[in-house]
């Protein structure tokens, strides 16, 4: 029998960006909150030896231990799903702060088009434009409604940037000025302008200058150290939950964090949750934490998985299209891009920051005419300078052998002579892309793993081909001696890293028929459960997700406070 603890107002499952934001907002209003985090405690002091490419970037020091829990994957229902045994396509976070500790910090707002994608697509092109099987849905909220929450997230994190000329309207400028401009960014900016495009600095959570946020949290400026994504920031410059929202929640005295606490079930009677059951992984003890409100902030996969394991909500059935938990799993199309080789110029490619670059949205969302194109949506195109660490970056021109004397010469020569123009493509939902419980493979507790059924579609291939042409044009205009374009998108492959931008599974919307949560991320079927994260995205845009996910977290916090006062379904 599980040991039962005293009841609290709110229990949070997972303490990353989602959990941290919810905790800070609720505790500021006096609610008592317990945060259960399966991983360990983290603090800035841990990153004394962080400039270690092998340990952090290639051995995944900060990521989830796959021997305990992973996901399984198949491209379609005729294939047997098999476990992701080692890391590749995406990297799940663990420990205090979650993936928010080792993210890059690209902080975008999705476009107004995104939130009303179905209506706006039909309005402009007619219903026939949406291909058979594409389960495109409006989000049940508009950009204008979400705008104040975007702003809240940006002010809290201190985002450094300048206005996107093709983005949604802003109520306030970014709290800090853009990051420094590198020569490659300048080349991109000039080239894009010559091509009549609209470049702007990548909105960055790395912090261009020292900043004190509305909560009174001060952080130092980024040092462009070149060890950012996959690493923790030793300066506390990069906005992460551990140096922003979590200390604010802790300071109230109302937030108790329990690390090494792996949540396994949401407990419920009737259609209300009563708390959660978790295992203290240091002792193996099973513990029950009762609460009035349960908030899932355990990332896309475990948000959906915990609901399915706990038999909460209606599981999605791809055959009928009915049910909602597991629906509209989407990802990101990262293949369209181009590499420019510069014979007579060297760049300080070793220096950089996680979110340092120039970007443009001329081919994102519905900012361009799709009438004669065989795909919807688009991509954000960018040049960015993260710091090219030497193990992972060995770009050589096509046709160069991958080892031996020639490889050595080319990889050394081009180490500081390449610039990558990349496209980050939207991923739109299909009826047969979904999440459910794997029938065979189990985690360390014996619970079924999450199973992903997903592949790239013609939509994605067309998008990638189009974007790589555009990236190639820009790279040529930048003056590269030689440009190689990567346009061919094969099947979805779980082995090469693409991005940790998994979305969907517990999507938001205007109706319980087609969505799992409302626009406060409150479950339609279980009013005291809120499911917070990119799991709420009805599709994924041509952007990194966390800006939008952070905005939705602030929106959810407001909803939870309302619910705590008055109860009931909020919309």
């Amino acid at each position: 029998m599980a040991r039962k603890l005293p009841k609290v107002d709110v229990v949070i499952v997972g303490v990353g960006w989602g959990g941290g934001i919810i905790a800070s907002e609720l505790t500021k209003q006096g609610l008592t909150v317990v945060g259960l985090e399966r991983g360990k405690e983290r603090k800035t002091e841990d990153y004394f030896m962080v400039h270690d490419e092998l340990r952090y970037a290639l051995r995944y020091e900060m990521m989830q231990d796959l021997s305990k829990e992973t996901i399984t994957f198949r491209s379609n229902t005729n294939v047997r799903a098999l476990p992701m045994r080692s890391y590749g396509s995406f990297l799940m976070g663990t420990g205090l702060g979650g993936a928010g500790v080792h993210w890059n910090g690209h902080t975008f707002r999705f476009l107004p088009y995104d939130f009303e994608i179905r209506s706006k697509t039909i309005e402009r092109y007619g219903e026939k434009k949406i291909p058979e099987g594409m389960t495109l849905q409006d989000w049940g909220i508009t950009y204008d409604e979400l705008e104040p929450y975007f702003d809240k997230f940006e002010q809290m994190a201190g985002i450094s940037g300048a206005e996107n000329p093709l983005g949604g309207k802003r109520s306030k400028p970014y709290p800090t000025p853009p990051m420094k401009m590198t020569p490659s960014m300048k080349l991109f900016e000039e080239a894009a302008k010559k091509l009549n495009l609209h470049p702007y600095p990548l909105p960055s959570a790395n912090l261009s200058e020292a900043y004190t946020n509305p909560d009174g949290i001060s952080r130092a400026a980024c040092q462009y150290c070149g060890f950012c994504e996959r690493f923790g920031c030793e300066y506390g410059a990069k906005a992460d939950p551990v140096v922003t929202v979590i200390p604010v929640a802790k300071k109230t005295g109302k937030f108790e964090i329990r690390t090494h606490s792996h949540v396994r079930r949401i407990l419920h009677t009737g259609n209300k949750a009563t708390g959660v059951l978790y295992t203290d992984v240091t002792t193996g003890e099973e513990i029950e934490q009762p609460a009035d409100i349960v908030v899932l902030t355990s990332y896309v996969f475990n948000n959906a998985r915990l609901l399915l394991l706990s038999k909460l909500g209606r599981p999605y059935d791809p055959n009928t299209g009915k049910g909602v938990i597991g629906k509209n799993y989407c990802y990101q199309v990262m293949r369209g891009g181009a590499t420019g080789f510069f014979e007579d110029r060297e760049f300080n490619n070793y220096a950089g920051a996680g979110a340092l670059g120039m970007v443009l949205d001329d081919y994102n969302g519905d900012n361009f005419d799709h009438s004669n194109l065989n795909f919807l949506h688009g991509a954000n195109i960018s040049v960015s300078q993260y710091g090219q660490r030497p193990i992972a970056n060995n770009t050589v021109p096509e046709g160069t052998p991958s080892w031996g004397k020639e490889f050595k010469a080319a990889s050394l020569k081009y180490a500081n002579r390449t610039i990558n123009v990349g496209a980050q493509g939207a991923s739109l939902p299909f009826r047969h892309h979904f999440l459910d419980l794997d029938p065979t493979y189990k985690d360390v507790f014996g619970d079924p793993l999450m199973r992903i059924t997903f592949d790239f579609e013609e939509q994605d291939r067309q998008l990638a081909a189009f974007m790589s042409e555009k990236c190639g044009e820009i790279a040529r205009e930048m003056g590269a001696s030689k440009v190689e374009v990567r346009g061919k998108l094969g099947p979805y492959d779980i082995t090469p890293y693409q991005s940790t931008h998994n979305t969907g599974g517990v999507i938001m919307g205007a109706s319980p028929e087609t969505s799992a949560v409302n626009n406060y991320l409150q479950m339609w079927d279980v009013e005291n459960v809120f499911v917070v994260g990119a799991s709420a995205f009805a599709h994924n845009s041509g952007y990194n997700p966390t800006g939008t996910m952070g905005a939705l977290s602030y929106r959810a916090a407001e909803g939870i406070l309302k619910y705590h006062k008055s109860g009931g379904i909020l919309v």
Binding site: M49, H51, R85, Q223, S402
Partner: protein
Amino acid sequence: MAESNNKYEQPVSRRHFLKNTGLVLGGLVVGGVAGSLLRRPEAPQQPGAAPAPAADYNQALMYFSPEQFKVVEAACERIFPEDELGPGAKALGAAYFIDHQLAGDWGFNAREYMQGPFYPGEATQGYQGRLKRREIFDIGIQELNNYSQSTYGKRFYEITPEQQDAVLKAFETDEVKLTAVSASAFFKMLRASTIEGIYADPLYGGNKNMDGWRLKNFPGNQMTYTQVIEQDKFVKMEPLSLRDHQH
């Protein structure tokens, strides 16, 4: 070799750096590294002082047998050979790096999902075998020798560099057929870990004296690039390692 000429490109002591960049802020500051560093007692700093050449106690074997080591060292050297551009994998200690890696977590696939059932799967589903990396290396090394013996009548490290290249090519293209693991999968792992051994921090036993980094003009572990990041000219710096952080 890269030499720094501007003042700010000199290796900077960490504490000195933190004191001078205003990283320590008042209020609710959470930048803990800065704080803990400033509290540490002063240690003598001797930037530029050349370390006396000493025995490298790291160059001993944790996993490989001497015979296995010879094969791996010879193969690494063909993947990244010494030439007029500078040292190769052997001089950089890549084979010691691989040995040490196989002795630990990575060699045991300790943080990977290794539970059954095991099924072959599609290429897009990734590695689905039951062998751990150290077992794959055991098999691959043995087969490099076997194939060299049957083709040239000698062990891998005894044949000429050209013959070694031909053997490695046969592995890379799966012309050699192995059971339990493909020759190309072994080759890929060998290649990837050779690159790691050239460029990982010297603390792991490869990238000896940071000479791998020098080949690429990679400055290793620096505190800051704020003064470099906007520069049009390429800035060469003497690299620093994690050891420089600690001492």
